[in-house]
């Protein structure tokens, strides 16, 4: 806190008699300036330590992502070799985008969309996959499109359109300090920590995804196919679960 003291410089012309109140103010400001300098030095040191740790963690995360991908490949090959079928792991993470506007919305889907923090057209949120969330998505199927985002999509969304909820305000994630202040107690101190927690749906997924303000995406370049119909319909449409193909859409909306 001391690093944010606002120190005002008092201009006293040379040789002029200094009024009593001005003198008191000058002394006070001097003391605060001293405190501020010390706090800034301490902050700088802490920052360097934190950054070193974050660097190590990031390298570990990269290795983790590569390892899990390689493991899956190995298992698929092994299954083919043995003539077995490899059951792909079910998705853990979903990214939901609101497709419908706000006019003429039935009360139940309207409420569910509010609960999912999808209050505006083209808002997007990360969601954990479990029974309750899947049931909620069932209720709002015709108004959203969702799927399983890839690591690249998650990274790009968070870096380009990541904003955090800091004392109820939408603050851009322009510095790791913001993240550290908000999520430090959960062990999350930087952008890569957030990305890892979201992508691997870690134990603090709820806190992290709640800290992230709902993503405000652009309209997709190249357009939707037909928002009135479902993605899986033969005639072509947009709402509902489009699994891996959400990444293509998000690439155009991000």
């Amino acid at each position: 806190m001391a690093e944010r003291y606002a120190i005002s410089k008092v201009n006293v012309p040379e040789g002029a008699a200094v009024p009593e109140l001005v003198k008191m103010k000058m002394e006070k400001e001097e003391k605060l300036a001293e405190e501020k300098k010390q706090a800034l030095a301490a902050k700088q040191k802490a920052r360097e330590e934190e950054r070193a740790k974050l660097k190590e963690r990031t390298v570990a995360y990269e290795k983790e992502y590569a390892d899990t991908a390689a493991e899956l490949v190995k298992l698929r090959r092994e299954a083919k070799l043995n003539g077995n079928f490899f059951v792909e792991p079910e998705a853990k993470l979903i990214f939901v985008v609101r497709i419908a506007g706000i006019m003429k919305m039935s009360p139940k889907p309207r409420k569910v969309l509010q609960l999912l923090r999808l209050k505006q057209l083209h808002n997007g949120v990360f969601l954990k996959v479990n029974k309750p969330t899947l049931n909620m998505l069932k209720l709002v199927q015709p108004y959203v499109t969702y799927g399983y985002p890839s690591l690249k999509t998650v990274r790009e969304l968070i870096y380009k359109r990541g904003f955090g909820k800091v004392s109820k305000q939408r603050i851009p994630l322009s510095s790791n300090d913001i993240i550290s202040d908000a999520l430090g107690k959960h062990g999350i101190h930087g952008m890569e920590d957030i990305i890892h927690e979201i992508y691997t749906v870690g134990p603090n997924f709820k806190q992290v995804s709640n800290f992230l303000w709902p993503f405000k995406l652009s309209s997709p370049k190249g357009g939707f196919v037909n928002k009135r119909h479902g993605y899986c319909e033969a005639r072509g449409g947009d709402w509902g679960n489009r699994e891996e193909l959400i990444n293509e859409l998000l690439g155009r909306m991000n």
Binding site: A6, S8, K28, V59, P172, S174, S175, N176, M191
Partner: protein, 409 residues
């Protein structure tokens, strides 16, 4: 107010450049300044000398007019009855009719006068007196007091016994009021508006107000000097102390009158001896110097220090800005550099990648040699399946043909 002057000089009326003595400043002249109060009380008090005006009660209705109703090709307004004159059949009664009554006729029972609480009136007078003791306020009101020695201007009692206007004028001039009196004379002009035809032809500015204790001729001496007014200290009128609702009238006290102010108004502790149940107004703030209060140690010691505001600037995209990416993801630039190097021929990273690639290809070749040899290559397995189906189809066709031939036979 703690910062008022404690003592006022008394000037000799015969020789106004010399002082005959001093007197303590009465507490009433240190009352808090309340221009809003003075304005409000003046506004209401000034209404009390009004004379009623109204139109005649029957104005416009002293006819036996009645509407002709419909069916006669005229408007339905009441019309004067009878015949034989222009007036017959003419419209009457309405405000739109010629000779009709006015809209909302003015009445004498309009509430002309206003009552003001006695305490309020007394507070206003105290306030106006206090303002008259402050040179900036008196100058702001428009009085020319540059040559006046001191405010409040107190003159020895001899002035009360003046009988000749000429002498009074001289005295005032010697007291420094010459410029003020001249201002009044110069300002005489014809009134703008109908008042000029209603016995209020001329207007001029107001000059000094002389407040006396004992009238031994002063009122008669002063009354013909343009602009000068006299008032007895027992009967001070707000309408004269704050003309037009603006306080700061130029006041000249006589010694006796000045002394009597303390007797009439008293102090904040004692109350006013001559005004039953009345105490002078108290200021809302004892110490009105906000800057000093805020910067005092008592206040500053319990405040937290002022903080810089959070500024977030414009959001930049880390995917585009390498600088920001390094800030958010420490080590990303060097990792990226290593990655780029691995596609440049001749670097150790490139060799590493090529080695891995070679190993992978070797592995693949070995696997293929082991598992996919002879009839188990991709093409052969594909063609085997195809040929099996082709053979089955050919057999079925042959069987059909054989059946047909049998049928023919």
């Amino acid at each position: 107010m703690a910062t008022a002057r404690p003592v006022v000089s008394i000037y000799n009326f015969e020789n106004p450049s010399e002082k005959t003595g001093t007197m303590p400043m009465p507490v009433v002249l240190q009352s808090p300044l309340r221009p809003d109060l003075v304005r409000e009380v003046h506004r209401d008090m000034a209404k009390n000398k009004r004379q009623a005006y109204a139109v005649k009660p029957k104005a416009g209705y002293d006819t036996a007019a009645a509407s002709w109703c419909t069916g006669r090709a005229v408007a339905r307004i009441p019309r004067a009855p009878g015949g034989g004159t222009h007036r017959a059949g003419q419209a009457a009664f309405g405000n739109q009719a010629r000779g009709g009554g006015m809209f909302n006729p003015t009445t004498v029972w309009r509430r002309w006068h206003r009552r003001v609480n006695v305490t309020k009136k007394r507070h206003a007078v105290a306030c106006a007196l206090a303002a008259s003791a402050l040179p900036p306020l008196v100058m702001a009101r428009g009085h020319k007091i540059n040559q006046v020695a001191e405010l409040p201007l107190v003159v020895s009692d001899g002035i009360q016994s003046l009988t000749k206007t000429k002498q009074a004028k001289e005295t005032l001039k010697k007291l420094g009021c010459g410029e003020e009196l001249q201002k009044v004379i110069d300002s005489k002009s014809i009134r703008a508006g109908q008042g000029k035809a209603r016995n209020r032809r001329y207007v001029k500015r107001l000059g000094p107000l002389v407040i006396y204790n004992e009238d031994n001729g002063i009122t008669r001496a002063m009354r013909n000097i343009p602009g000068v007014e006299c008032a007895h200290v027992d009967r001070l009128n707000l309408l004269r102390l704050a003309p037009g609702g603006s306080f700061g009238r130029f006041v000249i006290f006589t010694e006796g009158a000045f002394k009597k102010l303390s007797d009439i108004y008293g102090t904040l502790k004692s109350g006013a001896p001559k005004k039953k149940g009345y105490t002078l107004p108290r200021a809302a703030m004892a110490n009105a110097d906000l800057a000093r209060i805020i910067n005092s140690t008592e206040v500053q010691s319990v405040l937290r220090p002022k903080m810089e505001r959070y500024t977030h600037g414009i959001k930049r995209n880390a995917l585009k800005s390498k600088e920001l990416m390094e800030e958010l993801n420490p080590g990303s630039t060097e990792r990226r550099a290593v990655q780029l190097k691995s596609s440049q021929k001749g670097t150790p990273e490139y060799d590493e990648v090529q080695k891995k690639k070679k190993a992978r290809i070797e592995e693949s070749k070995k696997y293929n040699k082991e598992h996919k040899k002879g009839d188990e290559t991709f093409y052969k397995t594909l063609m085997k399946a195809f040929e099996a189906k082709a053979a089955a189809d050919a057999a079925k066709k042959a069987a059909e043909k054989a059946d047909d031939e049998e049928d023919e036979e």
